[in-house]
Amino acid sequence: MFSRFLFRLVLLLIVLYSLAPFLWQVLTSLKPSHEVFSIPPTYWPSQFSLESYQMVFTLRPFARYIGNSMIVASGTALLTVSIAVLASYALSRFRLKGSQSIQKGLLGIALFPPIVLAVPLYEGIRALGLVNHPLALILPYSVLNLPFATWALSGFFLQFPGELEDAAKVDGFSRMGILFRVILPISAPVLATTAILVFIFAWNEFLFALTFMTRDAARTVPVGIAMLSGVTVYEVPWDQISAAVVVTTLPVVVVVILFQRWIVHGLTAGAIKG
């Protein structure tokens, strides 16, 4: 009895520790602005106020940052999954010469430090005239996510029974017809999970977004928040920052809790296949 209570207590503490920095931002963001800067800090807001949220949306181009991030992240998810579907179907169905090396080579990319890629990528993007254009982020993000997406999908496609496709072939479906009319409809949950994980990666990325988007109006959320500063250098608007942090992270938290089983599976598969 006691050991079960202790077990529950330890679990509770671990979850609390995992959520603490996020929860503290939530509490901070709901305080009236002046209370955020009180010494010592109050732990529970004396009154709930949406002042910080109002300020970050009216005084800052925060809505713009969110719009930019939405375009970049959904563009990346769409492009990555579209290419990964074709690549992984081919890798799982045809005995291609060197398909093993292709898959291993793809994984190598994922382990490269982002800074090493940022320098030559910046030169390429500048040469193409794409600096400050959403494609400057969508293209490299898609390349970086393809290994993971291809692994996740080809693993799934391999589990399909061959009879299903043979039956479709008898019915006169072409290869592409089988892929789009038979396989993809049943794969919807896996496609969705993969797209969500790719979306989260693109939503979170910082270094490329910092380097390739030089105009304030082109910035994505993480860079926008990191650059939020006050009127003077010494004045950091922590009230507005906390509101911005909550708006940016809350959707991720909700998605992870709703889809936790699939997301855990997708993330683990992505990591372990490496």
Partner: protein
């Protein structure tokens, strides 16, 4: 900004590389990154293993607990670095206030004010963020171990410690290698957290290799030298990975 300078390109041989050996700032950032990686990854491994063992038991609400534990790993690193900056803040920060209230300290501490404390703060934030990844991989490994192995050893009268060292650790080895290798490479490439939390300061005390390369190329516009540094970083990572695989053996994980 045109990094290539628009003019003609001149072949300089290995000139960019010879400077690296005399570059004290690069040496220091390499040392800082090594310290950061070694301590972070060790702590993440110990904590991650403990959490994985806890979550491997069956209990009600396990899915929710697993989701809660996972959250630090999927939140944006740069944004959560801001959140940690707010916790560490020397005037309004909640960490200083908690320690004051428990009576552990008499004065508020400037967590990011001195090099060793700033390094410790960055490591703490990194451990918070990356432990879920280690637990997730190790948990998948634990679930792959057949239960009857444990039962067989229990019949032989082995206690929990013996079961852990004789079955769990050896069978978990490929998963441990994957988790540690991924984490070591990622920690050695750390950028977002440091850029936002300390900017490499104070006085270069948390300067990391990635930040140094970023500054060299995008602030001081020394593209050639920056590229040489980047290649050096890749060589270092390759050396770390090889050393790792030689030490712990090469084995494949089949899922």
């Amino acid at each position: 900004m045109d990094l290539l300078g628009g003019g003609g390109l001149v072949f300089v041989g290995l000139k960019n590389y010879t400077g690296i050996f005399k570059d004290l700032r690069f040496g220091k950032s390499l040392f800082n990154t090594a310290v950061f990686t070694a301590i972070s990854v060790s702590l993440e491994f110990i904590l991650g293993m403990a959490i994985a063992l806890l979550l491997h038991r069956t209990f009600r609400g396990r899915g929710l607990v697993r989701a809660g534990v996972l959250i630090p790993w999927v939140l944006p690193p740069a944004i959560m670095a801001m959140a940690w900056g707010w916790i560490y803040n020397d005037t309004y920060g909640v960490l200083g206030d908690i320690l004051l209230r428990i009576g552990l300290v008499d004065n508020r501490i400037a967590w990011l004010g001195t090099a060793p404390l700033a390094m410790a703060s960055a490591i703490f934030a990194d451990v918070w963020k990356a432990t879920p990844f280690v637990s997730l991989v190790l948990l998948a490994g634990l679930q792959s171990i057949p239960q009857d192995l444990y039962e067989a050893l229990s019949i032989d009268g082995a206690g929990p410690v013996k079961r852990f060292t004789m079955i769990t650790l050896p069978l978990l080895r490929p998963y441990i290698i994957v988790a540690l290798l991924f984490r070591a490479i990622q920690a050695f490439s750390v950028f977002d957290l440091i850029w936002v939390l300390t900017g490499g300061g104070p006085g270069g005390g948390t300067q990391m290799v990635s930040l140094y390369i970023y500054d060299t190329v995008f602030r001081y516009l020394q593209l050639g030298y920056g590229a040489a540094l980047a290649i050096t970083l890749v060589v270092f990572l390759f050396a770390i990975a090889s050393l790792f695989l030689v030490l712990f053996g090469r084995s494949r994980v089949e899922v």
